[in-house]
């Protein structure tokens, strides 16, 4: 692309990025709003919401539930998904295409169907809905995403490294924990972070299976009818700023490493 086209893509893309940022900036700005009952009109700057986050009824409890659910579902899904990913790349077995289909289908099914299906199942089995059923549901939809993420890492792993371990008389267990696992770890961490993010922000499946328990997204959904308190903005903004800080650090260090590599080669 030359001439005008060269600038057009810059302008268009920067506008698109600004567009993506608008509601984020809005949410953060309104976490500082001196709101009383509703947080819709700007009434002036205050730090009160940040200093007394838990003042809004139930918001901190919902946030705590979301963290708990996210952590447990992430651990379960990452463990189960990593095992499947290793088996898919390393082993020959029958029903391979049925297995990949079973892994693909949950990602191709709309959340509302997953949520209603689980709710129908719990209803028929007479299981009471609550944090437990939310964890079961979140683990289910995270597994496929873990498999996809970790699988790429397993596929790129050089088997010669493990062979070297075996040649040096390491037991299979030692080979796994001292060679395979550390090499897979970046992929596993990426998968775990993704699972946590998916679980933490899930609303649709949760809403069908939460019973009377409240997660952070379901708190916001319920509050939307009467006005969302600024404290919810505070929690969301806090999580956002923390996550962005972590991502920025990892991205920039990776970019710096690439640049260094480019210079030396």
């Amino acid at each position: 692309m030359r001439g005008f086209g060269k600038y057009a893509i810059w302008i268009y893309s920067i506008m698109a990025l600004v567009f993506l940022m608008v509601p984020i900036v809005y949410t953060i700005v309104f976490s500082f709003n001196d709101s009383r009952r509703t947080n819709i009109v700007w009434r002036g700057f205050t730090l009160d919401n940040w200093l007394n986050v838990c003042d809004a009824q139930g918001v901190c409890e919902a946030f705590g539930n979301s963290i708990l659910i996210g952590v447990v579902a992430t651990v379960l899904a990452t463990t189960l998904g990593t095992m499947i990913a290793i088996a898919l790349v390393r082993y020959r077995f029958r029903f391979r295409s049925a297995t990949t289909l079973l892994l693909f289908l949950p990602m191709a099914t709309p959340e509302v169907v997953l949520g209603a299906g689980l709710a129908a199942q719990f209803l028929q089995a007479g299981v009471g809905k609550g944090i437990g059923t939310i964890i079961l549901a979140h683990t289910m939809f995270c597994i496929s995403f873990v498999v996809v993420t970790v699988r790429a890492r397993v596929a790129s792993l050089d088997p010669a490294l493990e062979e070297a371990g075996r040649d040096l008389y390491a037991s299979p267990r030692e080979v796994f924990w001292r060679i395979t696992f550390p090499l897979l770890l970046p992929g596993i961490i990426a998968a775990a972070l993704l699972s946590f993010a998916l679980s933490f922000d899930d609303f649709i499946i949760t809403n069908f299976n939460r019973g009377a328990d409240v997660t952070f997204p379901s708190y916001i959904y319920t509050a939307a009818a009467r006005g969302i308190p600024a404290e919810a903005n505070v929690i969301a903004s806090g999580v956002f700023l923390l996550a962005i800080a972590l991502v920025l650090i990892s991205q920039f260090s990776a970019a710096a490493r690439r640049r260094k590599l480019a210079k030396t080669s």
């Binding site: 893509i9 810059w10 268009y12 893309s13 698109a16 990025l17 567009f19 993506l20 509601p23 984020i24 809005y26 949410t27 189960l80 095992m83 499947i84 290793i86 088996a87 790349v89 082993y91 020959r92 077995f93 297995t99 079973l102 693909f104 191709a108 099914t109 709309p110 959340e111 509302v112 169907v113 997953l114 209603a116 299906g117 689980l118 129908a120 199942q121 028929q124 289910m140 995403f145 873990v146 996809v148 699988r151 790429a152 596929a155 790129s156 990426a190 998968a191 922000d201 609303f203 649709i204 809403n207 916001i220 959904y221 939307a224 009818a225 969302i228 919810a232 999580v239 956002f240 991205q251």
Partner: protein, 303 residues
């Protein structure tokens, strides 16, 4: 991100010779059993529920039956919401592609010479994932509200009549869906473009292809796996979404989608057979559309 892996998985080389071993079973079994129990069995529960009929004695209860007429009833009653869901999702996918593709091209190709800028732009693309999508949607609702800055501005320019509203309209719902899924569209396209070897593009120029035909003959085909993952990752959740179209968010009763009807029937009206039948209709329609699309695009092995 897994959304990237979605696109890369199709071409991932697997150099290892696969062994046969009982370990495979041990590794697979727990996860597959889990998916069987909490993905397949629920689908089966939906089938059973969708065929139930009201209990003749206990009001509000249902008993197992084989009432396939339930499907006819829900389709007769809710066909507008069903059509609307697919129409809105298709529009949102199109708009997300129109915004996401140039953005992915910009981040993946234009910014290659500036690694730090590229890293920063990529962070901005994924930033929406880190803040509750309900709050982002509420932010648009408030920006679009009747007293909000956007409506006031458009009215001052006489683009909008004085009594017009944006929230509650089909425009607002498609707008919200588009906004929410731009990152899902952009990231897979970015992953295919980011690995694109620019020498192919140069070769197109060397062989006297115009920039336009190089783009359509070289760049676009190489981005195809990403475009496909992106459209699926946008269209499927958009068709089932009920947040954007909900009355508390950007929609109104006139914009209700199939997801809203399923939610209302299941959680409010407690008409479980209707909700289950609608869920299965949605799932079947999506599977038919997706498999037709996947076949047409020629990438069978998505995972």
């Amino acid at each position: 991100m897994a959304f990237g892996a979605f696109a890369t998985a199709t071409t991932a080389a697997e150099p290892v010779a696969r062994r046969k071993s009982p370990i495979a079973l041990l590794l697979l079994l727990p996860g597959l059993l889990y998916l069987g129990l909490f993905f397949l069995v629920p689908l089966f529960s939906l089938v059973i529920t969708s065929l139930q009929q009201p209990d003749p004695v206990l009001f509000g209860q249902f008993e197992n039956a084989f009432r396939w007429e339930n499907y006819v009833t829900v389709l007769e009653q809710y066909w507008p919401q069903t059509i609307r869901a697919f129409g809105f999702a298709a529009l949102a996918t199109l708009f997300a592609l129109l915004i996401g593709f140039p953005l992915a091209y910009f981040v993946g190709i234009t910014l290659r010479r500036w690694p730090l800028l590229q890293a920063l732009a990529l962070v901005l693309v994924i930033a929406p994932f880190f803040i509750s999508f309900l709050l982002r949607t509420i932010a648009w609702k408030q920006l679009f509200s009747d007293e909000g800055p956007i409506v006031g501005f458009l009215q001052a320019l006489a683009i909008l009549p004085g009594d017009a509203a944006i929230t509650g309209s089909a425009f607002a719902v498609v707008f919200g869906l588009t906004y929410n899924f731009i990152p899902f569209m952009t990231l897979p396209i970015y992953t295919s473009l980011e690995r694109l070897d620019l020498r192919y593009v140069e070769a197109g120029g060397d062989l006297y292809a115009s920039p336009r035909s190089t783009f359509f003959r070289v760049t676009l085909p190489l981005a195809a796996p990403g475009i496909m993952s992106g459209t699926l990752l946008t269209f499927i959740p958009a068709a089932g979404d009920y947040v954007n179209a909900s009355r508390e968010f950007l929609g109104s009763t006139d914009t209700a989608m199939i997801g809203n009807v399923i939610e209302a029937n299941f959680l409010v009206l407690q008409n479980f057979p209707a909700a289950a039948a609608l869920s299965l209709v949605l799932m079947a329609a999506i599977l038919i559309l997706v498999s037709a699309y996947v076949k047409r695009s020629g990438t069978e092995d998505l995972l």
